[in-house]
């Protein structure tokens, strides 16, 4: 599974460069995310899902698992939900667990404002 990362002083942006986070991709997603977030000590990670057209319950579980691994000291937000991904988060109420931005850049506005 491919990712692209961009770090600002405040936030690590991780973009998933894959069309699907499904059962076939969930383990690879989890391992990669653990490596990426483990390496850099960022305290705020934004997962950009704008390239992801589909997620299933295994993928959803993998995202939750990554958030749990990061612990309470690091924050994981989501951004760029495509329609079907958004639907899965809404139906499972997972949209209430995560802070979700429309675009990854919206996060920076918040830092600038605050």
């Amino acid at each position: 599974m491919e990712f692209s990362c961009k770090e600002t002083s405040d936030v690590l942006f991780v973009k998933v460069e894959a069309e699907r986070i499904d059962a076939a991709a969930a383990i690879s997603f989890k391992e990669n995310m653990r490596d990426i977030t483990g390496k850099c000590g960022a305290s705020h990670v934004v997962l950009d899902l704008s390239e992801v057209a589909f997620i299933d319950s295994s993928g959803l579980g993998a995202i939750v698992s990554v958030m749990k691994l990061m612990g309470t000291t690091t924050r994981l937000d989501l951004a760029g939900m495509t329609p079907t991904v958004d639907k899965v988060f809404r139906l499972t109420r997972m949209d209430s667990i995560f802070t979700i931005y429309e675009h990854p850049e919206d996060v920076e506005k918040i830092y600038k404002a605050g």
Binding site: D22, A23, A24, F54, S57, V64, M67, K87
Partner: protein, 153 residues
């Protein structure tokens, strides 16, 4: 493997039969989505279909065949005017108590460490599909359900 719903003899029907495995499910789902293009499904309808079938087929791979990859899975779809009727068959282990799981949403109001990482699958299926019926027939699991669609009009 037999074809489900052979009584629908006058309707256009699509079937994909494939060996168990997560990559096979991905391919079969892709084929299902492409084969639905002649019907008037909206993006949102297609999303529901892909979500439900993804859960059902991956349940077969993970639970009925428990990761062994020599079982076959048969997915059938009969498109109607406002509904797609599906049937999924496998020759794996039966559902627990030979009945449909409740499909309730796992509890999510505890602290971070207790957040559920699974158990959403049947909930999504129950939420998006109608007329869900499960039968154990001999050594086969037969799961039938409908997904209504709005279309673009």
């Amino acid at each position: 493997m037999q074809i489900c719903e052979t009584n629908n003899t006058n309707k256009h029907q699509l079937h994909v039969e494939f060996p168990s495995g997560e990559m096979s499910v991905r391919q079969a789902l892709g084929q299902l989505m492409s084969v639905l293009t002649p019907y008037d499904l909206s993006e949102d309808d297609l999303g529901s279909v892909e979500i439900v079938l993804g859960e059902v087929l991956n349940n077969v791979v993970e639970h009925a065949y428990a990761e062994s990859d020599d079982g076959m899975v048969l997915m059938s779809c009969t498109p109607g005017a406002h509904v797609l009727r599906f049937c999924v068959e496998d020759e794996g282990v039966a559902l627990p108590h030979a009945e449909l799981p409740k499909g309730t949403l796992p509890c999510m109001d505890g602290p971070l460490e207790t957040l559920p990482e699974g158990g959403f699958g049947w909930y999504l299926v129950q939420n998006l599909a109608l007329d869900l019926h499960y039968r154990r027939i001999g050594r086969r699991n037969v799961l039938a359900f409908s997904i209504p669609f709005e279309g673009n009009g």
